[in-house]
């Protein structure tokens, strides 16, 4: 297949329909950025929930060696721990429990404040300083009083922590941001699809004479559709690049530079989550332009 024609058509098509293509690129850029932000907010909410427990969990802190709580008489013993878990197992409000070891607790602290402060001889904390705890899964997030009072006062229990009071508003706002960006993105995605459809209609109309001749002399459908598909891919690529850049800027200026310093107690998303967002955007972008192009070229360029 001679591709010279296809590429010259591609360049011509992009230039001829520049304003429409720009509209597609910009709409794609904004909608993909919002989708990406939605993904990032979602991952942020997930990460926060992982750290603090979801709204269905409360944390029962167990005594450790130098617990200042008068209820504690040194490190929790195996027998005490078994007694506590039995109480939890028998409580109707609890759906289950999970033991967080000293090491796991220590890892969480390291993740939040940076590992370097906790390594070597001058470490301000070691795993041994951390308390063990039991994460109790609730059947109903509103019903936790019973289980809280059941375990409070048991030997080896230092206290019951219901982090939800602090976390809920934070996770709530993150969730709201997530839905706002996804909902806005949904509208813009529809706009982008319509724009792509219009662009193809215009392009097919502008080239109707060529297309008519190509069909008559026996050019294959793929050959006729190829310039349209390439145009769609180029606009998608530009939209994706802009969106990836915007998400990168958000990660750098929003998360790295500001949030991580000012709100240290929240575990913030990082490179890994950014890449997830990039992958989602990179897949969605071409789909949004290539799929309608395939459908519409079948309609307009039917042999």
């Amino acid at each position: 297949m001679q591709l010279r024609y296809v590429f010259s058509e591609l360049g011509q098509g992009l230039r001829r329909n520049l304003s429409m293509h720009l509209a597609v690129v910009l709409t794609l850029f904004v909608s993909l950025t919002l989708v990406g932000l939605g993904v990032l907010f979602h991952l942020q909410a997930e990460k926060a929930a992982d750290h603090w427990g979801s709204q269905l969990q409360i944390q029962v802190l167990l005594c450790n060696n130098d617990d200042r709580n008068p209820a504690c008489a040194g490190e929790v013993t195996d027998a005490q721990r078994d007694a506590i878990t039995t109480v939890i197992d028998e409580n109707p409000e609890a759906a289950g429990w999970d033991l967080e070891t000293k090491d796991e607790a220590f890892e969480k602290v390291k993740e939040l404040y940076g590992a370097e402060k906790f390594e070597g001889d001058n470490a301000i904390l070691t795993a041994d300083d951390m308390p063990e705890s039991l994460w109790v899964e609730l059947k109903d997030p509103e019903k936790f009083q019973g289980i809280a009072s059941a375990v409070t006062g048991l030997d080896g229990v230092s206290g019951v922590q219901d982090m939800r009071r602090y976390i809920e508003p934070i996770i709530g706002s993150i969730n709201m941001l997530q839905w706002v960006s996804i909902a806005t993105a949904a509208f813009l995605v529809v706009a982008a699809l319509l724009l792509v459809a219009n662009t193809i209609r215009l392009a097919a109309f502008a080239r109707r004479k060529e297309i008519g001749i190509m069909r008559l002399v026996g050019a294959s459908t793929l050959y006729i559709a190829l310039p349209f598909l390439l145009e769609a891919l180029v606009t998608a690529l530009l939209g994706v690049l802009l969106a990836v850049g915007a998400l990168g800027a958000f990660m750098y200026f929003g998360i790295e530079e500001r949030a991580t310093d000012r709100l240290q107690f929240i575990p913030w998303i990082g490179m890994e989550q950014y890449l997830v967002g990039v992958v989602v955007v990179a897949i969605l972008g071409p789909l949004l332009t290539v799929l309608p192009t395939l459908v519409l070229t079948r309609k307009y360029l039917k042999v």
């Binding site: 004479k209 008519g212 001749i213 008559l216 002399v217 294959s220 006729i224």
Partner: protein
Amino acid sequence: MIRFEKVTKTYPGHAHAALDQVSVDVDKGEFVFLVGSSGSGKSTFLRLVLREYRPSAGRVYVAGKEINRLASWKVPRLRREIGTVFQDFRLLGNKTVSENVAFALQVIGKSRGDIKTLVPETLEMVGLTGKGDRLPDELSGGEQQRVAIARAFVNRPKILIADEPTGNLDPTTSVGIMKLLDRINRTGTTVVMATHDAGIVDQMRKRVIELENGRVVRDQAQGVYGTSN
């Protein structure tokens, strides 16, 4: 080469059949005039040959293929066997004469080498030597039609379909175009030409198929345009 077996074509939304039980056989190398008033079914006949439509009933064979059964993706291959010329030339105004002819080869993936030899050869054959760099606008109507014929013939199709190719031309120019079509016919190409031009039909004395209201009312070897003549 072209065979219609009791072909009926009814367009959606129309009560009357555009073609009604038409049976026609056109052999390889024949020259056939298709005559009849507007709306008699000439264009529908040609479009069925090009497989722009499928027949509503009956069978159409073109170049050995039954077009009813031809898969959509095989249609381009069929059309490479057929050259088509129209009354309104259908040239690309932004391309030169050579480019217009080369376009037909480019888009079916012919190599640059083939194009370099075939295009000048064909332009010479249609009598446009030295005009390859002109734009269609700079040519007369007859010359533009020659470009269109060159484009239709450059891939050496088995069948040439001409839909009123002289409809926009004066009688003298038309004669030139007919001579050209005759020459193409003598290379072994089957030519089917729909026309209203009585003078030309009478002069050429080729086979004439007359359609009326979608039916074949006359199929005459070495015929003339009107039955009264």
